[in-house]
Amino acid sequence: MVRKVIEIKNLIHRYNSSQDGIVIEALKGVDLHVAKGEFLAVIGHNGSGKSTLAKHLNALLLPHEGSVTINGLDTRKKEDTWAIRQQVGMVFQNPDNQLVAATVEEDTAFGPENLGIEPVEIRRLVDDSLERVGLSSFHKRAPHLLSGGQKQRVAIAGIIAMRPNVLVLDEPTAMLDPTGRKEVMATVSALNKEEGLTVVHITHFMEEAVFADRVVVMSEGLIAMEGTPREIFSRVEEIKRLRLDVPQIAELNGCLAKEGLLLPPGILTLEEMVVALCQ
């Protein structure tokens, strides 16, 4: 059996609206498992509860009902909070607001320093992490002199220096240009494929969900669809009803099918489309 790193059972989270005292249910009973080494993409429109879900994964938010278990540790237990945060690293949307120190290497060292690791070992972890995100030559640079994609890679380096089991990315590419987006996705993919790091990638770019092993579509605080990218994106109509886009190629495939040209479902990339059309 595959080992489950993350187990979420009937998770409910409520926000109290400060203005008129209305209670908003952001998560209305989510059940989700993530296997070790899996690349899971969570997509959904704004307000679908996907960021709230992310914050539950490392105990930044605690369940009002239900439970979140990380490698057997319950997030509701106060004494396990730091162990959970070490295991589940989190990269946020705004690259500027998550870098702490005035140089790249100092920032990468921030997490390990918090864990109380020996200085010599921190040095090794920092050099290693910066190498893995391809920023070794930038180690003395000030963060504000980096591009958006580079900043996000520094943030990722700062997380993997803590030796986590899971990398949670909460819309890490939302504020980046296309080049930066590609950089970040390549880094994340490599960490997942080559080192077996479990990745939970929250995004509203459908093109990024194509990289995943499994896609979860959130809507109104619930999981609306779940499956491999091919399964999900061949259900074009359903996705559109959830106010989401499908990747361009998948949409083209849907249109062709409507016109009577039936290609195999689940075509996601340009290359696959070309191959299918030439047959």
């Binding site: 490392n58 930044l60 730091w82 945060r85 070490q86 690293g89 989190m90 946020f92 705004n94 500027d96 607001n97 998550q98 870098l99 702490v100 120190a101 005035a102 140089t103 290497e105 100092e106 060292a109 921030f110 997490g111 390990p112 320093e113 918090n114 864990l115 109380g116 690791i117 020996e118 200085p119 921190i122 040095r123 920092v126 000030a142 963060p143 504000h144 700062g158 997380i159 803590m162």
Partner: protein
């Protein structure tokens, strides 16, 4: 325009003073201040002057940088000089109407002004030869050694400030341009209307800073930050032979100044 603001004023170099541990430099500045305040006569001042000038030479920092540091103080310097010169009682050496200059006043005025100039020279030498990051580390460990309870928090605040000043400057420029595009005028009018025109700049800047602070706090917590307890540092400050030598030199200066003051 705003981009030209530099944080700190570090002048890169590899001189003896540049290579000293930041802790050494901070403690040395305090010992130097003690020596400076201990000296009260011309012999003492001669020693301190020779020391100060040789330190600036040793650091290879351009004199212009030092003078730049002193220049903003000119009002205070003139005031100090003037007050001592004209208001000290004693043997009159020059008089015109009720304005008179005494020998003691001249002496006091020159000494006091020199004291201020040297104080600024040596403290700017500290910031000119130490990177802001090293300075923060130095301050943290000096405060810790003095058992100041908030040493870590203070250092963390300085680190974050260093990290965010450039980001906030960038943001200020962006907001300024956005407001100018909407017809805001930051450069004309009297002092009151200029101050008023800053409101549409400051309000969004404050708002966004609070939002940043909030997000940063969350990111820090997500990275297991829980204050200074059990926290280690990657960079360990290391004292070398140079540092011990520097300590000896400054101690000798202090002792010489004390001897001159009390036994000569």
């Amino acid at each position: 325009m705003l981009k030209d603001i530099t944080i700190g004023q570090y002048v890169p170099g590899i001189s003896f003073i540049h290579r000293l541990d930041p802790r050494t430099k901070i403690v040395a500045v305090f010992l130097y201040m003690a020596a400076l305040f201990a000296s009260g006569d011309s012999t003492g001042y001669l020693v301190v002057t020779v020391f100060t000038i040789s330190m600036v030479f040793l650091s290879k920092v351009p004199w212009l940088m030092i003078i730049k540091g002193i220049r903003p103080l000119w009002i205070i310097l003139v005031l100090t000089m003037g007050l001592h010169l004209f208001l000290t009682q004693g043997d009159i050496i020059w008089q015109m109407g009720f304005v008179k200059i005494t020998q003691q006043g001249l002496r006091q005025g020159v000494f006091m002004t020199l004291r201020l100039v040297y104080l600024v020279t040596i403290t700017s030498l500290l910031t000119l030869t130490t990177t802001p990051i090293a300075l923060t580390d130095g301050i943290e460990s000096v405060l810790k050694a003095l058992f100041v309870p908030v040493a870590h928090e203070l250092a963390m605040m300085m680190t974050i400030a260093l990290r965010f000043i450039p980001t906030l400057i960038e943001e200020t420029e962006k907001i300024m341009k956005a407001q100018m595009a909407r017809g805001a005028d930051f450069d004309s009018g009297g002092i009151v209307s200029r101050a008023k025109s800053l409101i549409p700049l400051l309000v969004p800047l404050f708002l966004s800073s609070f939002r940043r602070a909030d997000e940063l706090a969350m990111a820090m917590e997500a990275r297991c930050y829980r204050g200074g307890e059990n926290r280690t540092r990657m960079k360990q400050l290391q004292m070398t032979g140079l540092d011990y030598m520097a300590f000896i030199i400054v101690f000798v200066l202090l002792i010489v100044c004390i001897i001159i003051r009390f036994w000569m």
